[in-house]
């Protein structure tokens, strides 16, 4: 939506296309906040923000991209506020900011624990104000490539059925993450990596796909997100013995160490038998009822509804869960991909500002700053070109393909493949990774992809057939899984979210301070490397 608003304001003719209504987007589930060096709670500046982000990325983030993010962040947050975002306030009426993991200053601007919700709605308000048309519940299934340019999208109309083609001079992918690759995930059902696979299928490269962030506090048993804001407000993490175990892993930053560090610590405690039924405990009790109700109301509600635990009186059972894909479609500093006319921003893109580990509060900021930049760049490109060609064969081919799927009567339905993919990814490509497990996972994914070629959908109808779109989503996910495994095996070191304690426990800047690049060639992922762009920060040892 941020990209659409910018493109509209630059003067382009814009439409949004989304498989769910725009306000249902999963950015709305982001709770804790958005990072910008406003300096409302302490002396802060963009350079400090940039350093924290570079260090947090385990030196895999591209430093030019990070500097742009941190420099433009304050202005972009003010703009959101002027558009009407309901931020929490300081005593003197400024935007309130709270401490967040691995940040040197209290930099995370927030709206209680519903920051993402507030921002998604304020963006949609701006979309309504501009009367930007939205194709709601249109499922983007293929990109149209013609004359070496991306020239539109082929979509399945969920409400009415049927394959529809929309020609466009430029397409911006903003489809979010792919957390549904895993059993335990904070991600919505909609997070199936669609945009990444759409780009991949046109030969556009994906970057750093092995970097899947595991969030340290996902609620047991369902995996919904418990915000880092809890720890920002002072919550403790305890093991089964009631010990604040982070004293042994991150003695300085403790609960506010970076996410990869805490997730590994938790997983170690759980694996070594110091957990509580496969969880650790997030203790908010000492914060007091008033603070919990005022600033962490949503967290309390989630714990009460989904775990039957009221955090005012009991600690919350939490564990690491798949949360955020640092990797994604490779783009330049304006969101442009390798293919003319195709842009990407937000979680589905990899600029890269998060490198091997994202800091809490930087994801919302990236969607805004790089959404804006890609919107501006795409609009400029579109205004400079006049023709759009949608070859009839593209639509005919898509129709034939969907017909084949719908007409198939004998075979397996997709859900078993989906569940097997998600549980094996969790098992073999989770917080800790072993060479043999990753290789096995490669074979499993290969076999699942074979099975997926012959799946059958139950619903043969046209109206609101999401049985068919869910089958197509599974295809997206399986290709991404193959890319992740390929990149994970190749990176023979431990960096950020990619932890190989059994064979390569250290970071190896000599050989691996570089991005993995994956392209799709002849039905399988092909690996390459790209250098990290550095500006002023030399790699240092990373401790918290």
């Amino acid at each position: 939506m941020r990209a659409a608003i910018e493109a509209f304001d630059v003067g382009a003719d814009v439409a949004l296309l989304s498989k769910i209504h725009p306000v249902r987007s999963h950015s709305g589930a982001a709770e804790g906040g958005i990072n910008a060096a406003l300096g409302n709670a302490s002396e802060d500046d963009p350079e400090k923000h940039a350093f924290d982000t570079v260090k947090g990325s385990d030196y895999l983030g591209d430093q030019d991209a990070i500097e742009i993010l941190c420099d433009e962040a304050p202005g972009d947050v003010y703009q959101l506020e002027h558009w009407g975002a309901v931020f929490s306030r300081t005593e003197d009426g400024r935007i309130a900011q709270r401490p967040f993991g691995a940040a040197g200053e209290p930099r995370t601007a927030y709206a209680a624990d519903i920051t993402g919700h507030v921002l998604v709605h304020v963006l949609y308000e701006q979309v309504m104000k501009r009367e930007i048309p939205a194709y709601e519940e249109w499922f983007a299934w293929k990109l149209i490539e013609e004359d070496g340019r991306c020239q539109g999208v082929i979509a399945w109309d969920i409400l009415n059925g049927g394959v529809k083609a929309i020609g466009a001079k430029t397409v911006i992918l903003a489809t979010g993450g792919a957390g549904r690759l895993y059993t335990g995930t904070t991600n919505a059902y909609a997070c199936t990596g669609d945009g990444m696979t759409l780009a991949l299928r046109l030969g556009v490269p994906l970057k750093d796909m092995e970097m899947m962030q595991f969030h340290p506090t996902t609620l047991s048993p369902t995996g919904v997100l418990i915000t880092e804001g809890c720890r920002g407000e002072g919550a403790y993490l305890l093991n089964g013995d009631g010990e604040r175990f982070l004293t042994r892993y991150a003695p300085n930053a403790m609960e506010l160490a970076s996410r990869d560090v805490i997730s590994r610590a938790e997983q170690t405690e759980i694996d070594e038998g110091r957990g509580v039924d496969g969880n650790v405990l997030l203790d908010l009790r000492h914060l007091g009822a008033e603070k919990i109700i005022e600033r962490l109301h949503g967290t309390r509600e989630l714990s009460m509804v989904f775990a039957g635990v009221d955090p005012i009186y009991e600690p919350i059972p939490v564990r690491p869960g798949a949360h955020y894909h640092m990797g994604g479609v490779e783009t330049d500093l304006w969101g442009k991909t390798e293919l003319d006319g195709l842009y990407a921003s937000g979680e589905c893109a990899c600029v890269s500002v998060h490198g091997a580990n994202r800091l809490g509060g930087n994801a919302l900021m990236e969607t805004i700053t790089y959404g804006k930049r890609s919107g501006a760049a795409a609009a400029e490109w579109a205004l400079g070109h006049t023709t759009v060609t949608v070859p009839e064969s593209a639509v005919a081919d898509a129709e034939r393909e969907i017909r084949t799927l719908l007409d198939r009567r004998d075979g397996e339905r997709p859900h078993a493949i989906r569940d097997e993919m998600a549980s094996t990814m969790h098992e073999n490509f989770g917080v800790f990774r072993r060479e043999d497990q990753m290789r096995r996972q490669g074979e499993i994914v290969e076999a699942l992809r074979e099975r997926n070629k012959r799946v059958v959908v139950d619903d043969k109808g046209s109206v609101f057939n999401n049985d068919v779109t869910q089958a197509l989503e599974l295809g997206f996910l399986l290709e991404l899984a193959a890319c992740m495994v390929e990149a994970g095996i190749a990176r023979k070191e431990s960096r950020g979210a990619h932890a190989r304690p059994y064979d390569f426990p250290e970071r190896d800047d000599e050989s691996y301070m570089k991005h993995t690049i994956v392209r799709w060639r002849d039905g399988r992922p092909e690996l390459d490397w790209a250098p990290v762009r550095m500006t002023k920060w030399e790699p240092m040892e990373r401790t918290y």
Binding site: R24, W83, V86, V118, M128, P221, G298, D458, F464, D467
Partner: protein, 344 residues
């Protein structure tokens, strides 16, 4: 656990509509949405419903359970199963059904758009930094800002059932979201629009929207706050506004509702005269007291005190500004209910 439920299935392509019973095995922690997923996976892939976040924030999975609007991801099944109850699942009300549990939300969104739901600062140039606004000035719109646009309130709205043109609780709550925002500069225009036909005074105050909102937004309270703001700004031409004004005046002067005066004050003298015959017959049958001299309640000061209390609450309203606290209170209540039934 073994879960049984009945779902209203409807297929627009065949025109069939039927209440079908399903029985599946589900984990103890399952919510209604998880059970629907199991049915779609294992029993019937054609079952249509919306879902996304499964954490009560995206607003996709509004539907009805036993006749009341809910979010499917929020309703835990275990207490229902323990009771041996077989709930009936149906699509939301007041919106056209597309298929099974999926409704057409376009009438919902057109009403949201009708209230121009964006903050309009009226500034050509924005200040370099943020607007400086105290938390206490922002507090009155916190509950309205919580709205996830799921449509549960609209589903339950009694006024909308008889007047589909009524703006409805979600759009009006959104209306207060901007009217109550100290940064907004279009208050008067907004209030005038919200006071027109199908606006705030068409609400019948049944409180179903407050009762069923899964997020504690309390749309009816927002409508009341819009009424108060309108009267305060002198936008009180609607009969509803006049009625409300006289109601308060009557209660604080005598502690009683003086019906004989209420009608002319609300409808105007001419219109009230037409009701004379009806009024006289009410009087004859002792349904209304003789209007003169006005009867003053013994403890009229209590009525006045009540007025003062409400006045002092201002925009925050009785529930206070803590976001969604009432929704949680309801949750507690809900659990207590289940326990109560178990004890029996």
């Amino acid at each position: 656990m073994d879960v049984a439920l009945k779902i209203w299935r409807s297929n627009p392509e065949t025109g069939e509509r039927e209440l079908k019973r399903y029985e599946v095995e589900a984990p103890e922690w399952a919510c209604l949405l998880d059970v629907l997923d199991i049915i779609k996976d294992q029993v019937d892939g054609t079952l249509a419903y919306r879902k996304s976040c499964r954490m009560m924030i995206c607003g996709s999975c509004g539907m009805r359970m036993d006749g009341r609007a809910i979010l499917a991801c929020k309703e835990r099944m275990a207490p229902i199963v323990e009771r041996g109850h077989v709930p009936v699942i149906a699509p939301m009300g007041n919106l056209p059904v597309i298929k099974d549990l999926a409704v057409d939300m376009s009438p919902f969104w057109s009403k949201i758009r009708a209230v121009k739901p964006w903050v309009d600062t009226g500034y050509a140039e924005y200040p370099e930094r943020e607007f400086v606004v105290g938390q206490e000035e922002m507090d009155p719109i916190h509950k309205e800002a919580l709205c996830i646009m799921c449509g549960c309130c609209v589903s339950e709205c009694n006024s909308m059932e008889s007047d589909p043109e009524f703006l409805g609780p979600a759009a009006l709550a959104k209306g207060f979201r901007t009217v109550g925002d100290p940064r907004d500069g279009a208050t008067i225009e907004r209030l005038q629009m919200l006071n027109s036909e199908h606006g705030i005074w068409d609400c019948t105050r049944c409180y179903f929207c407050n009762e069923r909102c899964p997020k504690g937004v309390d749309p009816r309270d927002a409508i009341a706050k819009l009424g108060a703001e309108s009267v305060k700004e002198g936008i009180d031409g609607d009969m509803g506004a006049k009625h409300a004004k006289w109601f308060i005046r009557s209660a604080e002067t005598t502690g009683w509702l003086r019906e004989t005066e209420l009608v002319p004050k609300t409808q105007g003298v001419v219109s009230a005269l037409k009701e004379t015959k009806f009024a006289l017959s009410l009087l004859r049958r002792g349904k209304v007291p003789i209007p003169v001299p006005p009867h003053v309640a013994d403890k009229v000061h209590e009525a006045r005190l009540l007025r003062e209390v409400v006045h002092a609450q201002g925009r925050l309203g009785a529930a206070g500004h803590v976001q969604g606290e009432k929704a949680l209170a309801k949750l507690d209540h809900h659990l207590a209910d289940d326990d109560g039934e178990e004890a029996q």
